[in-house]
Subunit: 413 residues, 2 copies
């Protein structure tokens, strides 16, 4: 019999983050963990001693299948930044966490999240060294943004890319319906990394011309040049569809969406809420080029559209959770599971483990050479990279016409 | 051998309008039509003699299955209003149409559309009586808005409702993730009729609490009262999700979205493009109640999300097309196919035919008694009406990770 396990979810949700949770839970139980606790709202909830015994909630194989298909973080998430371990007052925070873990007889700690969340694993691991604790700390990668270092890609990205590719295709079909001039601007998530926006290019194929231009946040965005390009394209083509990242910035460093008057807010990690980019550009096109425009924000659905997930992605999310448990049980700590692509064609991928210090807080952006020279599209290399990640589906379990989810009622707490 | 058939699509697209097109095409071929022409961009394209021989494009059973699953109008659509048959200059327009039909040896004319499009069938039929033409004119109902008179519901509505119910559920899950106060406003299509917005209530069930409030365009919208209600709910609940119709109006008759500064335009039928309602309300909530807000426009996806359609809907869309052919071949003209609900539980539905004069240009809104007394939700009767229409799925044909469509390349023209 192993000791107890605790697992938490952190940062923005994805359509498959619960598949990683299930991967941790099931592998831990299968490998003899006594108890598997779930932190409610990540480390922030743990500090308030909010946790559950997951066996009381994931009771059978059907629950496991439902949870894999449930969007958003089942346990709730947080955006909570632990203090540096040597900062003033830090000791009280860490002592509190380690005391709670000790009380729960936790020997293995898993945290499913992105680069901000890996900062938590790094600090907890460092503190464990400082105090000589034997608890093992492992990170499980997750983010639709695909901006984690070292790993080939992140669980969550493939499903978001599949959703973006699918609905871009549908919107392109829709845009051609009236046979009149129309410019559609799609606003896609991704603050600093263009992985999601680039996925709009997946729509291009035998049965779809794909978007006409794609603008990633990796390159400065020149509004005047953009207007010229749109003008040139709309002279040759009725329906123009353009994908832009919510995070595109002017050459002076301001976000394009700052040119609008939307209320915005800043989260705990100092990230701005961005939106309004597509609307702003669509209004400019309507005013200056005098054509009909549409602005479509793909919105939160990019991270929660469980009704169309990639089976490759959801399987890898599960595997990443399982691999973290295996590694921790074998004595690893302070590491994150990475996905290692063995081959693109045929697609083969395994897991590996890597020092979390070299991953936390680092953002991996799209390489310059995967963006065309003129900065208006992604290259075939980009597509070849993404395509294997969106393959196959995991059919939703439909009940009375809608996808069924595993419901965690936080009123129970 | 029958004479020739022509079919057109008109008005806003739906996820299943091509299923009706296939229903007309296949039934006409099966029943011996010599040729089945498709108008490109409806009556507007026909006036420019733009049409295709559909047999050259729908070549086999796989094409039929792909076309059923292809969003937007395969033949292209239009928003074109024919002049009244006695208006000045009308004769030239009608003579042109009837000459083209005569040249093509068309004996049966089918038009798939909503109440504006039924106006076209009505006028063409009336003109056929005037000139003693034998051509049969039949309407096939279509609109996501579900606002056609006489018919129990319209093909296109069930799939849009299923999409809205599904993503509302996903967004509700997503909204609970951080466990902090947040108000999400969903903006749903429907200018004057709340059928689509009401479908957000489908999300409520054993595994989801559903939206907190739903505002239909049938009732005047009081912004101050709305703010009070939101304030009251957000005091008792972390994540508040509210669905509003894009068409909600102030008591003075202005659209709520007119309080914003969005560029808008007016289409041929005098309908305004509406958007910005959710953003406006979210900004007000953020400013006045000081909580985090999100505005999510469900956007065009409501009418083109073929990746999650209702099988009931897509089957009925096909049947409506087939029934129109059968009726016309039996000599009917100036009629529209209606859907007639025989029973809700178990759900049974047949088709019927009805005088198009009593359907064209009439909008059917949600009955007052299907909206709660305080105007903030729909009643169980509403849900019982919609639920059967969203049942079961028609699996997309996935190729290389994305739904496959039947591509009509208008460069071929």
């Amino acid at each position: 019999m192993r000791g107890n396990v605790i697992v938490g979810q952190s940062g923005g949700p994805t359509a498959v983050i619960n598949s990683s949770l299930v991967g941790v839970f099931k592998t831990a139980k299968d490998r003899g963990a006594a108890k598997v606790y779930g932190m409610l709202h990540g480390i922030q909830g743990l500090l308030e001693e909010r946790y559950v015994d997951l066996s009381e909630h994931i009771r059978n194989d059907l629950d496991i299948e439902l949870l894999k298909r449930t969007p958003s973080a089942y346990l709730g998430s947080c955006r909570y930044k632990l203090p540096g371990i040597h900062e003033q007052g830090a000791q009280a925070v860490y002592d509190k966490i380690f005391n709670i873990l000790r009380k729960l007889e936790v020997e293995y700690f898993f945290y499913i999240g992105g680069n901000d969340s890996m900062d938590t694993i790094k600090k907890l691991y460092d503190y464990s060294l400082l105090i000589g604790s034997d608890i093992k700390f492992m990170g499980v990668p997750k983010t639709i943004d695909n901006d984690l270092a070292v790993t080939d890609h992140t669980p969550g990205y493939g499903s978001a890319a599949k959703y973006i590719g699918s609905i871009t295709k549908e919107v392109i079909r829709d845009g051609r319906v009236y046979g009149q001039k129309q410019v559609t601007i799609l606003e896609i998530m991704g603050r600093n990394a263009g992985w999601l926006t680039g996925a709009a290019a997946l729509a291009r194929g035998e049965d779809c011309e794909g978007p006409d231009m794609i603008f990633l946040p990796e390159l400065p965005f020149d509004v005047d040049k953009f207007m010229e390009r749109v003008d040139a394209i709309q002279k040759t083509k009725e329906s123009v569809v353009i994908a832009v990242s919510e995070g595109i910035k002017l050459p002076d460093g301001r976000y394009v969406c700052e040119l609008t008057d939307n209320v915005d807010s800043i989260d705990t990690f100092g990230h701005r809420q961005l939106s309004g980019t597509a609307r702003y550009l669509a209004n400019r096109v309507a005013r200056e080029l005098g054509c009909k425009t549409r602005a479509i924000e793909f919105s939160s659905l990019q991270r929660c559209a469980s009704h169309i997930v990639s089976r490759v992605d959801i399987t890898e999310a599960f595997q990443a959770g399982g691999a973290a448990v295996k590694a921790a049980f074998e004595g690893e700590s302070g590491k994150m599971i990475t996905l290692k692509r063995v081959s693109s064609d045929p697609y083969q991928c395994t897991t590996d483990i890597y020092d979390v210090h070299k991953i936390a807080n680092i953002e991996k952006t799209v390489p310059r050479e995967w963006i065309t020279d003129d900065g208006t599209y992604v290259t075939p290399e980009f597509i070849n990279y993404v395509r294997p990640l969106i393959q196959a589906e995991l059919t939703a379990i439909m009940v009375d016409g809608l996808p069924r989810h595993l419901y965690y009622d936080n009123k129970q707490e």
